[in-house]
């Protein structure tokens, strides 16, 4: 008997609230722009946040309203921009592809170890104690960036440095945020010249820590034929990405080979994985 009453009570209450909510949803209905749904279908729905708004649904609303540029979706790139333009009946603009660049080449071979780190295996916590390498600006090598990448576009190579796969990176910038030492930066695809070092120590000290450190000699600054294309800041060559010429004129004379032209390895994931397999199997 009590069972029947219990079932009836629950059922009755459920029905009561269901009807109440059904009426409320009719009364409080919000008309949504049908274009928003259309845009949502085109977007990659990765919710990566690279466009600057939280999530693809916010992006869709902003785009329809006109607050967001049509080519702002970094993850989708040109393809999505074109599709969106077609769906909304407006002109497509060229989308700039952004790529993650790892600005440190001090792997296990090039750097010295001055300690053994036994803590939590994340860069964020290793950074608090200083990590294993003596250079306090270097890559910590504990792959926070690889973990943060939702697109499988990063992996650690056998030298303990992260590699960005050209074919997988969508430019969301999650790795750049994850890196506690700000070694990873987001740059447009057309950028070719990079200083692969963040060391602000004086030349001799930097050289002692790492074979490929920027020693602040200033040769690249002299070689740069555009005024202010490269400047020295705290013993470190810093590229002005807007004016520095994208050729090898500045990179030839670097004694430590830390400024390089077109060196960003256009790694394709399959090729990298198969190479790693070969090394592992010893063939």
């Amino acid at each position: 008997m009590i069972l029947i009453i219990a079932v009836l009570t629950m059922g009755g209450l459920g029905l009561f609230f269901a009807i109440g909510l059904a009426i409320a949803s009719k009364k409080l209905k919000v008309k949504e722009d049908p274009r928003v749904k259309k845009v949502m279908e085109i977007l990659p729905m990765t919710n990566c946040g690279a466009c600057g708004v939280p999530g693809c649904s916010t992006f869709a609303v902003g785009l329809v309203k006109g607050d967001i540029a049509i080519n702002a979706c970094v993850a989708g790139g040109q393809e999505v921009a074109d599709l969106l333009a077609k769906a909304l009946g407006i002109d497509s603009a060229t989308s700039v592809r952004m790529l993650a660049v790892v600005l440190c080449r001090g792997g296990d071979k090039e750097t010295r170890k001055f300690a053994t780190y036994r803590g939590d295996k994340t860069c964020a916590s290793a950074d608090l104690t200083g990590g294993e390498k003596s250079c306090s600006y270097s890559c910590l090598g504990l792959s926070d960036c690889v973990v943060s990448c939702e697109f499988g576009a990063m992996e650690m190579n056998d030298n303990g440095l992260p590699v960005v796969f050209y074919d997988k990176c969508i430019g969301c910038g999650a790795c750049a945020k994850a890196c506690p030492r700000d070694i990873i930066e987001m740059h447009s695809e057309s950028m070719k010249v990079f200083v692969y070092c963040k060391n602000k120590d004086k030349g001799p000290i930097a050289k002692k820590h790492c074979d490929v450190a920027c020693i602040g000699c200033g040769l690249c600054v002299k070689d740069c034929n555009v005024e202010g294309g490269i400047v020295m800041k705290n013993n470190l060559a810093v590229i002005n990405y807007e004016s520095c010429p994208q050729d090898d004129s500045t990179t030839k004379r670097c004694p430590t080979k830390c400024i390089l032209f077109d060196e960003e390895p256009k790694q394709i994931k399959e090729v990298f994985s198969s190479k790693a397999m070969k090394v592992a199997s010893g063939s």
Binding site: I5, A6, T9, A24, S25, K29
Partner: protein, 192 residues
């Protein structure tokens, strides 16, 4: 007089968040900005007050007469979930920016244990309908108070030089603990 005592007790002395440690999730999650915190507090207060009244009615008119107190938890959850749905629709209609800024935390009021705890306390302590109403209102005001205090402190904290290891969650938890300690000072004020 009793009603005022119950209200003050729920709002300050036995603050649901800072004395019972209920509803910590929105307390930490929505306390980043003052205006969002106030609105979240108001939404929760609304749900709490209505939930206190409706659960009292269900409890005393259906569950107890038919000897079904074992259905208490389930029915209370249904009531809270429906109310939250209602509030969500209402906010979506009335204020889309607020709807967006509350985000996931709005539907998550359903799982806010402060509301559920409040409904259970109410039936446990055998309040009358009017007492229950003020208990719910007091609980909501107390929740809003805790949220607003926290948000105010966290906004000021943006300009403070926090050690790197304590930035974000650790600092927030420390502050929550200190707020709770401060609220213990009210403990001798009244006992209901």
């Amino acid at each position: 007089m009793n009603i005022i005592l119950i209200f003050l007790s729920a709002a300050i002395v036995n603050n649901l968040v800072l004395a019972y440690f209920l509803g910590i999730c929105p307390f930490l999650g929505v306390s980043k900005r003052l205006d969002t915190a106030v609105n979240m507090g108001l939404a929760t207060t609304f749900v709490m007050t209505l939930a206190a009244v409706i659960t009292w009615l269900i409890n005393n008119l259906i569950l107890i007469p038919y000897d079904l107190p074992f259905l208490m938890n389930v029915t209370f959850i249904i009531v809270i979930a429906s109310l939250v749905q209602l509030v969500e629709m209402f906010i979506k209609k009335m204020s889309p920016p607020l709807y967006r800024s509350l985000g996931m935390f709005l539907p998550l009021i359903v799982t806010n244990c402060a509301i559920f705890g409040l409904a259970l306390f109410e039936s446990l302590r055998g309040y009358s309908l009017l007492e229950g109403l003020f208990f719910g209102l007091g609980g909501g005001v107390g929740f809003t108070l805790a949220l607003v205090l926290m948000a105010g402190i966290r906004e000021e904290l943006e300009f403070a030089d926090v050690p790197r290891a304590l930035q974000g969650a650790p600092m927030t938890l420390l502050i929550a603990g200190m707020l709770a300690l401060a609220f213990m000072g009210f403990a001798g004020l009244l006992s209901v």
